[in-house]
Amino acid sequence: MGLSEAISKFVLQNAHICIGGFTLNRNPMAAVYEIIRQNIGGLHLYVHSNGQGADELIGAGAVSKIELAYAGTGRFAPTCIRFAKAACLKSILIEDYSNYQMTLRFMAGAMGVPFLPTTTSLGSDIIEKWGFSADIRRKDKRLPADKLIVIDNPFEKGEKASKVVLVPAINPDVAIIHAQTADSKGTVRIEGLTFSDIEQAKAAKHLIVTCEKIVEPDELKNNSGLNTLPHFCVDAVVEAPYGAYPTACYKRYDYDPEFLQTYEKYAKDDSLYSKYLDNYIYKTKDHADMLEKNIGAKRLQVLKADSDKGYSTKIVRKSAV
């Protein structure tokens, strides 16, 4: 299955989706761009600290609601720019959680339980202020009735019982993650940090995996301990070289400070941003075409990861910050 087909088959209008990665690392950008290209809208997006992927989906108007912990790309955009604009314009609805809460929510979905407990955020406005109205929650059966519930620890009796925050499970319609390698049956190997990609993948009704390289079936069996997802979790596995670009893919390539800087310039200005969408996304037929037209093989070579370090030792990061 090609990426275009995988997106159109699983990412329907108004779908609940989550995307893997963290800030400027291993975001499934090829898939994000394809969603934008296909003009799929009304998405309900779940992320912990996704960063670039979330901002581009929001910038393109694909997102109507977002549940998140953090929208930023570190020093490049301490707050994601299109996200911040959309928040102030109220063109998206936002529900705020903490990173651990979002992680636990994906984990609850993966485990098949309705909630998981934690004590994080007690006393904060994350507990007090709910972004989605009761009406919105009632109308979409995929949403829990409550943002979260604070209970007394039932194992402690009486007034001395401590408080516990229960955060509800997320079971998105689709999860999309990007990996270094998968075999053609769908066994997935992520190198380096997995963030909460594994939990997201297991929590979703459908899973699309893009990867740098698809290998022969069972080729990854040589080292089972390095594999991260079994094939029966995967609905579509698509080879998408540089599929995380402009974010990093450990041991393959780095994030691109030049692109992120360019993006910042476009994102800050509404009229420029529509040009960005045109030139980088709408007018390119797929990710390979986008890379060829806008980035070029020479630049990709600079981004190539040093085999020891796992990231590029050749990029200049100073100017970008």
Partner: protein, 254 residues
């Protein structure tokens, strides 16, 4: 004496709070430099850890985000987000964890806002949100906060309480059910603030060389006790050398 910037002073002031038995949870920017400086100077056995799951990172090159692949280089172990926060929530490991955070607003009890300015449902400015901030603030035994020293940031009442400090003061934090020890130092570009053990109110602990006490107090939007303030030792030659040559030779943050 060598010249230095307020950023350098801040990084060193934070580094000095870190000890050998600490596990340092840091964010992006100056907090990462503080953790790196401590590891090179005064807390060689401390462990640097990121919410992204990298534990015992070597940080040969400065990461520009906690998701930067540079946090993975020569780490002791790759965990997940779930693992990282569990190490904080777990009381055996959590008691050794020092968190370093930044924020847009802080109040007199060290509660932080990194979510919105204005009404939550009708904001005038929107920030990235909690990230791991609320989690670190809820769990870590000690939290250090970096702030720009501006009156609009040191406020009487937060627009949104993202990360819990001492909440309403006194025993409020403990009574609410939070485990960690709470915010214990606020490091600004003018000085260092700490919290009264009893009331949990912020007070001025010290000011940097060349900064007037009055300027500090005037740039805080609530009343603050400055009676115990003393001058903070400027960065030593060694501290500056390590910070500049080992932590950020490319001057990405400094």
């Amino acid at each position: 004496m060598e010249k230095y910037t307020s950023k350098e002073m801040m990084a060193i002031a934070a580094a000095r709070c870190i000890t050998d038995s600490d596990i340092v949870f840091c964010g992006t920017g100056i907090s990462m430099l503080a953790a790196m400086a401590a590891k090179h100077i005064n807390a060689k056995r401390s462990v640097i850890m990121f919410e992204t799951g990298a534990i015992g990172s070597s940080l040969e090159d400065l990461p520009l985000a906690v998701g930067d692949p540079r946090v993975m280089y020569n780490a002791d172990i790759f965990g997940t987000l779930a693992d990282s926060f569990a190490f904080m929530q777990n009381r055996f490991t959590g008691k050794n964890i020092v968190g370093i955070l930044g924020a847009a607003q802080i109040d007199r009890y060290g509660n932080l806002n990194s979510t919105v300015i204005g009404d939550y449902f009708n904001p005038t400015a929107r920030f990235a949100g909690s990230g791991g901030g609320a989690d670190v603030a809820s769990f870590a035994d000690r939290v250090i906060v970096f702030m720009k020293h501006e009156k609009r940031r040191f406020v009487e009442k937060l627009d949104y309480l993202t990360s819990p400090g001492w909440l309403s003061g006194e025993d409020a934090r403990k009574e609410t059910g939070l485990a960690g020890g709470g915010v214990y130092a606020v490091i600004t570009d003018m000085g260092v603030l700490e919290f009264d053990k009893q009331s949990k109110r912020m007070y001025l602990k010290g000011y940097y060389s060349g900064i007037e006490e009055k300027a500090i107090v005037d740039n805080i939007g609530f009343e603050i006790n400055a009676s115990k303030a003393a001058q903070i030792k400027p960065p030593s030659k060694e501290e500056l050398f390590v910070l500049r040559s080992k932590c950020d030779p490319q001057r990405l943050i400094l």
